[in-house]
């Protein structure tokens, strides 16, 4: 399993998302290859179809497919949680589902 962890340093959410991903991987005992990449320019965001920070893809599939097609940009990504709240990081449930 390969996990791409894309982030933009201008948004403060990636450390929290990285820690959450580590926790979920650890809890499931998964030995995944996590490849981190910092996105540093709009051109790079376009090239990577990066809709915001953080973006996490499991074997190429976005953990939140609904938000994956947003306009590529250097911005904080919005995650819509099942309870209706908005978050700058995916929920534990979204990560668990993506890793199932």
């Amino acid at each position: 399993m390969r996990i791409d962890f894309l982030y933009w340093s201008g948004c403060p959410s990636h450390p929290e998302a990285r820690e959450l991903l580590r926790e979920v991987l650890g809890a499931r005992g998964l030995d995944a290859e996590v490849v981190e990449r910092e996105v540093g320019s709009v051109e790079e965001a376009r090239e990577l179809s990066f809709p915001g920070s953080p973006t996490i893809r499991v074997d190429g599939r976005d953990v939140d497919p609904a938000g994956a097609s947003a306009r590529p940009a250097l911005t904080c990504r919005i995650y819509h949680l099942p309870d209706g709240q908005v978050s700058p990081v995916p929920s534990r449930e979204q990560l668990e589902e993506a890793l199932a």
Binding site: G10, C11, P12, S13, V42, A73, L74, T75, C76, R77, I78, Y79, Q85, V86, S87, P88
Partner: protein, 170 residues
């Protein structure tokens, strides 16, 4: 002490709002804000609640969006009007296209709060509270600052770290 910056900006209500137009307010809260940021969105219902809860005590809450629209079109004035209407903001929402207010405030994040007393001196700067998730809040920084200033006291904290997106400069 730092004085509130002068401004005269268009609001989503179709009117211009200046610092002087809030002259009767016992306390003025300026919030560097925007549309697109998930941190702003996570906190904006709490900001509306604070605006409503303190309105009859003479507090005015004013959000200011200074973001560069060319990189973040979701933050355009038209989009501001749509969001304010959809979410039923209980605070004024102004558009700082020249980014002059953000520069004068020294703002870096959205949301970032600046509380001014009756003399328009800065008495609190920072976060609304201590948790992005509403059920995790244990410290009500903004509410505590307003309660203090309305009682003629100094806020328990004058500064906390603002957590949020960066201001999008031109």
């Amino acid at each position: 002490m730092t004085e509130a910056p002068q401004f005269d900006l268009p609001g989503v209500d179709g009117q211009n709002h200046s610092l002087d137009s809030y002259g009767e307010a016992e306390a003025l809260v300026l919030v560097q804000s925007c549309n697109h940021c998930p941190y702003v969105q996570a906190w904006e219902s709490r900001l509306s609640a604070i605006a409503r809860d303190f309105a009859d005590r003479g507090v005015r809450v004013v959000a200011v969006n200074s973001n560069d629209v060319s990189s973040h079109p979701e933050d355009s004035f038209e989009e501001m009007q749509k969001r304010a209407s959809a979410e039923g903001f209980a605070f004024d929402y102004l558009y700082d296209e020249p980014q002059a207010v953000a520069r004068a405030l020294g703002a870096e994040r959205t949301p970032e709060v600046f509380v001014y007393d009756r003399d328009r001196q800065l008495v609190y700067h920072g976060a609304i509270d201590d948790s992005r998730e509403e059920d995790g809040v244990s410290q009500q920084y903004l509410r505590d600052a307003l309660a203090a200033v309305l009682s003629g006291q100094e806020p328990p904290l004058s500064e906390t770290p603002a957590v949020g997106c960066t201001v999008k400069w031109k």
